[in-house]
Symmetry: C2
DNA sequence: AGTAACTGTTACCTTTTGGTAACAATGAAA
DNA sequence: TTTCATTGTTACCAAAAGGTAACAGTTACT
């Protein structure tokens, strides 16, 4: 439960801590062009459970990479989008996707 | 134990599968300039156990990102280096490190 | 004979991560 | 009054990941 924000000197440990894991980079990528609702993200990532998606979104928000906006409506509507810090990752996310794309094609 | 090489259509799943996890990007970064021995890598990453380091190196080798060269000497000497595929990741690794470095400094 | 050097492997245990299913909240629509 | 829609939370369980400690193998050095 105690997820200490690593004041680690290693820049990789820092980066991996923020955007590592199986899901975060995909989530960030999904948000890189659009503000999206919870249900949209979930629908585009069928292999992640809602529970874990909620957790990942909370961590990304706590780390300042995404913004969560909740509208006082019934049924609820919640929109997620990238913060400026999150935006600063876009080039890296694109490179990661491009590299993976090459891997897929060259197979 | 069955680590199937994902023929997944999602480029992120592919990339994360290959270089994700807490350790792999750091290992690749350590090897990006130098061929290094097992003991060297271990010494530079004190927080990873030898067991897990061995596992990660095996996976990286199996995925074609690093090369393992074993010399028939006593005591044993084993050297690890990047393959061309691994080399192709260097720009991304540098970007990840640079991004993390900014995070550390801006704190 | 005993020990150090180096790169692992193996057995066993703990911690972390993730899944499923049930529940919650609430207004609108049927 | 019942159901639907949406975004979660919670309790509980299973799987994955990682740690520690002991052992292996071989030559040279003391």
């Amino acid at each position: 439960m105690e997820k200490k924000v690593e004041t680690n000197l290693c820049p990789f440990t820092t980066t991996i801590g923020l955007i590592g894991g199986r899901w975060k980079s995909i989530i960030l990528y999904l948000l890189s062009d659009h503000t999206r609702r919870f249900g949209e993200i979930s629908a585009r990532m069928p292999s992640i459970s809602r529970k874990v998606l909620t957790e990942q979104l909370k961590e990304l928000e706590a780390d300042g990479l995404i913004r969560r906006e909740q509208f006082k409506e019934i049924p609820p509507r919640v929109e997620y989008s990238l913060t400026p810090l999150g935006q600063s990752l876009k080039p890296i996310l694109n490179d990661l996707a491009a590299w993976g794309q090459e891997m897929v094609l060259d197979k």
